[in-house]
Symmetry: C2
Subunit: 148 residues, 2 copies
């Protein structure tokens, strides 16, 4: 259960500070790299991936898998919320990642483990679908096509 200590290096501190300051925002490895490059304190891609992986193992950062070929997203986890009532929806049209707070979904977690023996990792799961805007846009488009 114990995680080996590991050193407190400059890159590690910078990364954690940045992720914390992002306040729940998700970033790709590439975005993170660009940020530090712009700051004039570049960090190598390998280091970013290696440190992010450590943070994920330690439970400090959550990794979101969006699609193959697409970069994974990383977000800092507030110790207090611990991601149980925090859901993520990904719009397939506009690509937005939407945060959702919902009691009903929390109940699903209980249901899944009680009735199906599956302990759902809410934080890692992404719901795919259409956001409100894009859903409406599609409906409008469909109507216009009918009119033609």
């Amino acid at each position: 259960m114990e995680t080996k200590a590991g050193y407190r290096t400059k890159a590690r501190e910078q990364l954690l500070t940045y992720m914390k300051s992002s306040h729940g925002e998700h970033h790709t490895a590439a975005e993170i790299r660009e940020h530090f490059e712009a700051e004039g304190a570049p960090i190598g891609m390998a280091t970013i991936y290696r440190q992010l992986e450590r943070f994920v193992d330690e439970g400090t950062i959550q990794k979101y898998t969006l699609g193959p070929g697409e970069s994974a997203c990383y977000a800092y986890i507030e110790k207090t919320e611990q991601c149980v009532s925090h859901f993520h929806c990904r719009c397939e049209d506009c690509g937005r990642l939407i945060h959702l707070d919902c009691e009903e979904l929390r109940e699903i977690r209980t249901h899944l483990v009680r009735h199906h023996g599956f302990e759902w990792n809410v934080g890692k799961t992404v719901f795919y679908g259409l956001c409100d805007q894009c859903r409406k846009s599609r409906m409008i488009r469909a109507m216009e096509e009918k009119t033609e």
Copy 2:
């Protein structure tokens, strides 16, 4: 709305037949390639991806995105079930992809669109977590560590 007809080629027919015969089982592009290679009727990777993409667009096949770096999975969709009450759970320990039929989860779909305006694409979403076996294994391991 109309999909351009497209030709009925040998590769296309073979692919569809195989996916249908797999009876809901999911396969990666690489697995599919190996299957036809073993049969002595190899199909090029590019063709496999291009045809699978067409089937996905046509709604005949569902694509599952598991993780970056990991291959996507593809499965044939029975027209009748149309994937509304069919959920997929991925065990983070053993990697198994578990199929789940559950009424309660269907209700969530209604809730999401009514209260959050989000039209959930059930078929594409994968629930990450721990399956029953692995959850128990972890508990046992945790107890043993305590005993030491």
